[in-house]
C-alpha cells in the first residue's frame, strides 16, 4: 500500500517509472494476498473499542480471502487507470487504497448515555412491540454508559397481552426466568436459549410470499430484544444467536418448511451436544489429570463445569481431595456449589472471599470457571474471581480456568468498566433472604448522595492465569485468538458451499 502511494506522488511520468510502478503494484498485490488474513487478526486483536482507529475488523477476517481477491482486481484496474491518467497533464492525485473498514462499530449496550442511540433503540422496541423497562431512578455516574433500568418482573409483562404474536410464549417464559435469576450461569443460559429457539422454530410457519431463511430471522428479532430487556445477554448466548442466524441464512431456498425446521433442530441438538456436553466431558478428563490425591482445591462461586470436573475426579477417578469454596454476597452462588458437593460427600470447606488470603497458603490449586474468554487472553468471570486469582498469584498457587470454546469471544477488554452488567441494587440491601430484618440502608433511594452499584462480572488479566483448560487441551491464555481463528476457519469452511 505505502509503496504504491509513494510512486504516485513522484508525479512526472517516464515509461521506466511506469513499469516500475506496475511491477511494484503487482508485488504489493501478491504480498497483500498472502498477508491479508494474518494482518487483520493482529489488528483485530489489538484494537481497543474506539471509533477513530482505521483498522481492519474481524468481519474482514471471516471473508478475508475473497476480499483480498477483489481488492487485488480493483487495484489492478486502478493502476491501469492511473498509468493512463499519468500520461496526461494533471498530476496524479494521491490514490487512496480502498478503505477496508471505517473502524469498529461500538455495540449499543455500552452507549446508554448517548441520547441518539437510546432514541433509536426505543423506536425499534416500539415497532417490535417489546416491553420497555423504565430507566433507573438513581444511576451510577461512572457506569452511565451501561444500561441501568428498574428491572422488576411485573414491568416486563404488564403490557404484554397473552395472545400477542410477536414474542413466543416460550421466549416470555425464558425471559422471566432470566430476569428472576432462575436460569443463571453461562451454560444454563445458552442451553435454555437453544431449547426455547427450538420451540419457536417448530411453531413457526412461513407466511406466503416470504422465504423462511429471511423471515425467520426477522421474527426472531423481537424475541431477542425482549430477552435483552429481561437481562443483558451473555457471551455464550451471543455466540448461540450468531450460530443460529448463520444457519438460518444458509438454508437453501428450495427446501420446505418441514425440512428446514428439521435441519435447524438437528443443528441445535448438535451444537448443544458438541459444545456443551462433549466439551464438558473432554474438559473433565483433561482437568482430572491435573488433580492428584491429597490436593486442596480452591474454587470461587458456582460453575457447572467445575462441578462436573470435581465430581468426576472424586467418583470415577477416585482421587481424594478436599475443596474450599469461596463465596460472596449478594448472590451466594458458592452455597449452591457447596450443596452439590456435599450431596456427593466431597469434603468441603465454605468461606467468604474475605478469607481468601488467610486460606491460600494451604491451597494447592485454584480452579475457576469463566463467563467468557476475551481475545487478548483476559478472563471475564463472576465479580470477585480476579481477586481470588490475584491472591493466588501472590502465593504462587497455580490458577486453572476451565472454559468451553463456545464461550470464547472476540471482544477485547482490559478493565471491568467498559462492558459489564449492573445487577439489581436492591439485592445489596436485602442480602439475607427469608429474614425480615431491616437493613440499615433499606431507604437508600432517599439519600441523594448514595448510589448502590452491583457489578456482575470482572475481568482478570491473562498473566494471572496459569492455563486455560478447554476441550482442545490445556492452552495458555494468549492462544485464545488462535482458537478463535481456527473456529472461524472451520465455520467458513462448513457454511460456504
Amino acid at each position: 500500500m505505502e509503496t504504491g502511494k509513494k510512486v504516485q506522488s513522484e508525479g512526472s511520468e517516464k515509461t521506466k517509472q511506469e513499469i516500475m510502478a506496475e511491477r511494484k503494484a503487482k508485488k504489493a498485490e501478491k504480498a497483500a494476498k498472502k498477508s491479508q488474513p494474518i494482518k487483520t487478526t493482529e489488528h483485530g486483536a489489538v484494537t481497543i473499542l474506539s471509533e477513530s482507529i482505521q483498522t481492519n475488523t474481524v468481519k474482514a477476517d471471516e471473508t478475508g480471502k475473497s476480499k483480498a481477491d477483489l481488492k487485488a482486481e480493483r487495484r489492478q484496474k486502478q493502476e491501469a487507470q492511473r498509468a493512463a491518467k499519468a500520461a496526461s497533464v494533471t498530476e496524479g492525485k494521491q490514490s487512496v487504497a480502498p478503505k477496508v473498514q471505517q473502524g469498529k462499530r461500538i455495540p449499543d449496550q455500552i452507549q446508554a448515555d448517548r441520547p441518539s442511540v437510546e432514541k433509536r433503540l426505543v423506536k425499534r422496541y416500539v415497532s417490535q412491540k417489546v416491553p420497555q423497562l423504565p430507566p433507573a431512578e438513581r444511576k451510577v455516574q461512572l457506569f452511565s454508559h451501561l444500561q441501568q433500568q428498574e428491572r422488576t418482573l411485573e414491568l416486563l409483562t404488564k403490557d404484554l397481552a397473552v395472545n400477542q404474536s410477536k414474542i413466543h410464549p416460550a421466549v416470555i417464559k425464558l425471559g422471566l426466568q432470566y430476569a428472576s435469576g432462575i436460569i443463571c450461569g453461562s451454560n444454563a443460559r445458552a442451553v435454555a436459549l437453544l431449547e426455547a429457539f427450538k420451540r419457536v422454530i417448530s411453531d413457526y410457519s412461513t407466511p406466503e410470499q416470504k422465504e423462511l431463511s429471511r423471515d425467520l430471522e426477522v421474527s426472531l428479532k423481537p424475541c431477542i430484544n425482549f430477552l435483552k430487556q429481561c437481562r443483558p445477554i451473555s457471551v455464550s448466548m451471543g455466540n448461540v444467536i450468531r450460530f443460529l442466524k448463520r444457519h438460518i441464512t444458509n438454508i437453501p431456498s428450495e427446501s420446505t418448511d418441514v425440512q428446514a425446521k428439521k435441519c435447524l433442530h438437528e443443528e441445535i441438538e448438535k451444537y448443544i451436544h458438541e459444545n456443551v456436553e462433549l466439551a464438558g466431558k473432554t474438559i473433565c478428563e483433561e482437568a482430572s489429570k491435573k488433580i492428584s490425591s491429597g490436593d486442596v482445591i480452591l474454587t470461587y462461586g458456582y460453575s457447572s463445569l467445575l462441578l462436573q470436573i470435581l465430581l468426576k475426579a472424586f467418583n470415577e477417578d477416585n482421587k481424594k481431595f478436599r475443596v474450599i469454596v469461596l463465596d460472596s454476597s449478594p448472590r451466594s452462588e458458592g452455597l449452591q456449589f457447596l450443596r452439590r458437593l456435599v450431596a456427593f460427600k466431597i469434603p468441603s470447606v465454605y468461606m467468604l472471599i474475605s478469607g481468601a488470603s488467610y486460606v491460600m497458603p494451604e491451597v494447592n490449586k485454584v480452579f475457576l470457571g469463566a463467563h467468557a474468554l476475551l481475545a487478548n487472553g483476559n478472563v471475564m468471570s463472576r465479580v470477585g474471581s480476579s481477586q481470588v486469582a490475584l491472591v493466588a498469584k501472590a502465593h504462587n498457587v497455580p490458577v486453572l480456568v476451565c472454559c468451553e470454546t463456545h464461550k470464547f469471544c472476540d471482544r477485547v477488554q482490559t478493565d471491568s468498566f467498559v462492558f459489564n452488567e449492573l445487577g439489581n441494587p436492591d439485592d445489596l440491601v436485602a442480602a439475607v433472604k427469608g429474614k425480615p430484618s431491616v437493613h440499615s440502608i433499606a431507604n437508600w433511594r432517599e439519600l441523594p448522595k448514595l448510589s448502590l452499584l452491583n457489578l456482575t462480572y470482572d475481568v482478570m488479566p491473562g498473566d494471572l492465569v496459569t492455563a486455560v483448560i478447554t476441550e482442545l487441551g490445556s492452552v495458555p491464555c494468549t492462544s485464545v485468538p488462535v482458537v478463535l481463528r481456527v473456529k472461524h476457519a472451520e465455520t467458513v469452511q462448513l457454511t460456504s458451499p
Partner: protein, 422 residues
C-alpha cells in the same frame, strides 16, 4: 354477569374463550360480545339441563379443545387484580397449578342479605402457604375438615420436612381462578372420579406435590431377559407419567445456580416435579358472587369502584327528574317517574318505576314494574316481577308478583304455582 369475566380476560389479552354453560342460557351468552362491544370470541359448549356437572366434569367434556395450559375461571368472578402477575408466577416456575387468592376485608363476609334469615355459614378455606416462596403447601376447605375430624387439621410429616415455615390463613378468598398445565387436564380427563375442580382436584394435586416421583430408569427392573414379562398395564396411570417435557427443564436447572430456599440439601423447588403456586393479592378488588351475601355486596361495591376497575367503560347517567343518588346504576330504557327517589341501587333495563317510590339498597333486574308509593329496602327483585301499589318490602327477594298493600320483611315472595331458583 359473565361480562365482568370476559372484560377481564379481554384486558389481559385473551382472544378466545371456551364457555361451558347450561343449554338454556346459550343464546343469551352468545349474544353478549355483540351487545356489549367485546372483541373476544366465545366458543360455547352446552351442558344438558338435567345433568349435574361439576367443574372437573366440564373440563373433561372439552378436553379435545385443550391444547396448551389453560386458565379456568368461574363466571361469577369480579376482580381487577392484574392477571399478568399470576401468569408470571406460572411461567417462571412452571407450576402445575397456580391459584389466585385475595385478602378480603371482613365486613364483606358478614353483610346481611335479603331473603329468609338463615344461619350464614361462611365457607372458608384453610390455605397453607410457604413463607419463603410463593408455594401452596396445602388447601383444605373448612367443610371437609369438620365433617371428618372434630376440627383437627392434620399435616403430614413430609410437608413439615420440606417446608418448615408454613403460614395457615383462613381469611383468604379463593378466586376460583386457576392456571392449569395441560398435563393436569389430561390427568383429570383420565381419572373419572374427579367431579369438582376446587373441591377435589386441587387438594389432590397439592397433596401429590410431596409424593416421591418414581425413578426413571425402568429398564433396569427387568432382571432376566429369558423370562417373559407380562407387563400389567393397569388402568390407572401414575400421575408422574403425565408429566411431559420436564427432562430438559431439569437439565437446565442442573446447570443453573439457583435455589428458592437455602439451608438444606434439596434442590430448587425441593426437587418436586409437581408444584403448586399461589398468588396472594394484597391490593385490588376481588369477589365471587357464589352466595347471596356476596352477590349483594358485589353489587354495592361495583358501583363504588366502577371508575377504577373499568376506566374505558362509562355509565350513562339517567336523564329524568327523579332523585337519583350518586351510587346508582340505571339500565337503558328504564322509565323513572318523577318524585321517585333511588339510593344505592342497581336497576336493570326496561324497568318501569312509578311515582313516589322510594328505593334504597336494592337490586332490580330487567323488565320489572314497580307501581307507585312503594317502598323497597334492601331487596332483590327478579326479572319480570311486578310490585304493585303501596307495598312496603324490606330485605326480601321478590320472585313474581307482589300484590298491593303488602308489607313483608325477610321473605321470599313468589307465586304459589311457580318456583323460583335462587
Amino acid at each position: 354477569m359473565i361480562w365482568f369475566s370476559l372484560k377481564m380476560l379481554e384486558n389481559a389479552g385473551f382472544e378466545d374463550v371456551l364457555v361451558i354453560i347450561h343449554e338454556q342460557f346459550k343464546a343469551e351468552i352468545a349474544d353478549i360480545p355483540n351487545k356489549y362491544g367485546l372483541k373476544i370470541k366465545l366458543d360455547i359448549t352446552c351442558l344438558q339441563k338435567n345433568e349435574d356437572y361439576g367443574t372437573a366434569d366440564s373440563l373433561r367434556l372439552i378436553k379435545d379443545k385443550i391444547k396448551t395450559d389453560i386458565l379456568v375461571i368461574s363466571c361469577d368472578l369480579v376482580c381487577d387484580i392484574p392477571l399478568h402477575k399470576v401468569f408470571d408466577l406460572h411461567r417462571t416456575h412452571q407450576s402445575s397449578v397456580t391459584a389466585l387468592f385475595s385478602q378480603t376485608s371482613p365486613e364483606v363476609m358478614l353483610a346481611p342479605a335479603p331473603g329468609p334469615k338463615t344461619k350464614i355459614k361462611q365457607e372458608r378455606d384453610l390455605v397453607g402457604l410457604d413463607l419463603q416462596t410463593p408455594r401452596l403447601v396445602f388447601l383444605v376447605s373448612e367443610a371437609d375438615l369438620t365433617s371428618e375430624n372434630e376440627e383437627e387439621l392434620s399435616i403430614r410429616k413430609s410437608v413439615m420436612k420440606h417446608f418448615p415455615q408454613i403460614s395457615v390463613q383462613g381469611n383468604l378468598l379463593d378466586a376460583h381462578l386457576y392456571v392449569i398445565k395441560k398435563w393436569v387436564c389430561d390427568y383429570i380427563s383420565e381419572n373419572r372420579s374427579f367431579t369438582m375442580l376446587k373441591g377435589e382436584v386441587l387438594p389432590h394435586i397439592v397433596r401429590k406435590q410431596f409424593t416421591k416421583s418414581p425413578k426413571r430408569n425402568i429398564d433396569k427392573d427387568l432382571p432376566n431377559a429369558d423370562v417373559s414379562v407380562i407387563s400389567l398395564n393397569t388402568a390407572k396411570r401414575d400421575i408422574f407419567s403425565f408429566l411431559v417435557g420436564d427432562e430438559e427443564e431439569e437439565r437446565i436447572r442442573s446447570y443453573s445456580a439457583w435455589n428458592d430456599h437455602r439451608g438444606d440439601l434439596r434442590g430448587p423447588y425441593q426437587d418436586h416435579a409437581i408444584r403448586c403456586f399461589a398468588y396472594v393479592a394484597k391490593e385490588g378488588f376481588c369477589l365471587r358472587a357464589n352466595t347471596l351475601n356476596n352477590y349483594c355486596e358485589l353489587n354495592r361495591q361495583v358501583i363504588k369502584r366502577w371508575s377504577t376497575m373499568f376506566p374505558d367503560e362509562e355509565i350513562t347517567p339517567p336523564v329524568s327528574k327523579a332523585q337519583v343518588g350518586v351510587d346508582c346504576l340505571i339500565g337503558e330504557n328504564t322509565q323513572l317517574s318523577d318524585k321517585c327517589s333511588i339510593k344505592h341501587s342497581i336497576i336493570g333495563q326496561n324497568c318501569n318505576i312509578g311515582d313516589k317510590v322510594r328505593i334504597t339498597n336494592c337490586i332490580i333486574m330487567d323488565n320489572v314494574t314497580v307501581m307507585k308509593e312503594t317502598t323497597l329496602q334492601g331487596s332483590i327483585l327478579m326479572k319480570n316481577s311486578v310490585v304493585e301499589n303501596s307495598c312496603d318490602i324490606k330485605d326480601c327477594i321478590v320472585g313474581h308478583t307482589v300484590h298491593s298493600n303488602c308489607k313483608s320483611t325477610n321473605e321470599v315472595l313468589v307465586d304459589a304455582d311457580r318456583l323460583l331458583e335462587i
